[in-house]
Amino acid sequence: MTYQTALAIFLPVALAFAAFGSALGLGKAVSSAMEATARQPEASGKILVNMMAGCALIEALTLYVLIVVFVLSGKIS
């Protein structure tokens, strides 16, 4: 197996793993934000702001993998 074949097989798999992990994390964050809003609807603005910040931090990890995929996909021939 050449390195190009290995890259071509495993780069999408790596991205899928990263997306899966961040989807789980985001689901947990958003669900707890929803529960907190349901408990106290007048705080929904502040909860939304904090949820957005948390989601951006979680999303960043997937994007690190995306950049690596873009960089290494140039090495496939």
């Binding site: 994007l63 960089v71 996909s73």
Partner: protein, 299 residues
């Protein structure tokens, strides 16, 4: 790629939304949208073209700063007690940023609002300007490391993150004194256990402080660059298929991402400054003191 360049010239005259030339960079394999500086540089060629290519980022930086300064200058030219529309908008923005920063840092956070607010507006403007056709975000700019692995190293975002790093450390040293700063970095040892752990805590805190600019850099760069690559890929598909703007929903998503990433950068910078300020042992958290005191009073 002459076909794409000629297509771009035709669509400039037709003012088509979002169509631009797509350069497939053969070395990196990533698609970038052309902006007006690269188009002019390609058209001129020669030493002037080379010069334009090297100062591409400076041109967009000056453009971004010029737009921001123009908006706020026009909003503050004739300040009246009953504000006009632009002045009211500018005041609203400044008040919102001040409220946000003081919500985390407390009332004395007003000294840091100019720095953090300008950071937010600058990053937001830079991100949004990249979404205009034929313009480019400076935050998505990177240089490719020479060598076997063409790793893109971001340029503008690392500059911003280093500024935040230096400012946070300077605030820490100035507010707590040099001994207080070293004490904070060693985990504030107070009892014997603290002193035993201090040689371990100091490298951990040091690495933590150094990891902050790294994460700030790559978070902002990856989000904006990834979004722009996504838009570029869809524009490339659209150019082949009769100019249907496939990239339109992704442009809308990119507007949201630009705002959120600027906000997260500013939020994290504010939190880093908050962690460097001297902790009052009576107040554990900043910003939620009002509600907690209210609960204590009622309970």
């Amino acid at each position: 790629m002459n076909f794409f360049v000629s297509v771009a010239h035709a669509s400039e005259e037709a003012a088509h939304e979002g169509a631009g030339a797509v350069h497939a960079a053969h070395k990196e394999g990533v698609q970038h949208l052309a902006n007006f500086v690269t188009l002019i540089a390609d058209a001129l060629g020669g030493p002037v073209g080379e010069f334009l290519r090297t100062t591409e980022n400076l041109i967009f930086t000056v453009l971004t700063i010029g737009v921001l300064c123009l908006i706020f200058y026009l909003g503050s030219r004739r300040i009246t007690l009953v504000p006009g529309r632009l002045q009211a908008a500018c005041e609203g923005v400044v008040e919102g940023l001040n409220g946000f920063v003081c919500g985390i840092l407390g009332p004395e956070g007003r000294t840091y609002t100019p720095f953090l607010g300008t950071m937010f507006l600058y990053i937001w403007a830079m991100n949004l300007i990249g979404l205009v056709p034929l313009m480019k975000s400076n935050t998505a700019n990177s240089i490719t490391l020479p060598g076997p692995v063409p790793l893109p190293v971001p340029t503008t975002t690392v500059a911003l993150a280093l500024i935040v790093f230096v400012v946070v450390q300077a605030i820490g040293i100035r507010k707590q004194g040099i001994t207080g700063y070293l004490d904070h970095m060693a985990g504030s040892p107070r009892d014997a256990f603290g002193w035993v752990m201090a040689p371990l805590m100091f490298p951990i805190h040091l690495i933590g402080e150094l990891a902050k600019p790294f994460s700030l850099t790559f978070r902002l760069f990856c989000n904006i660059m990834g979004g722009h690559i996504l838009v570029a890929v869809f524009v490339g598909m659209a150019v082949g298929a009769a100019f249907i703007p496939f990239q339109a929903p992704f442009l809308l998503f990119e507007i949201a991402t630009s705002t959120i990433q600027a906000f997260v950068f500013t939020l994290l910078s504010t939190v880093y400054i908050a962690m460097m300020l001297p902790h009052d042992p009576k107040h554990e958290e900043h910003g939620s003191e009002g509600s907690r005191h209210a609960q204590v009073n009622h309970g």
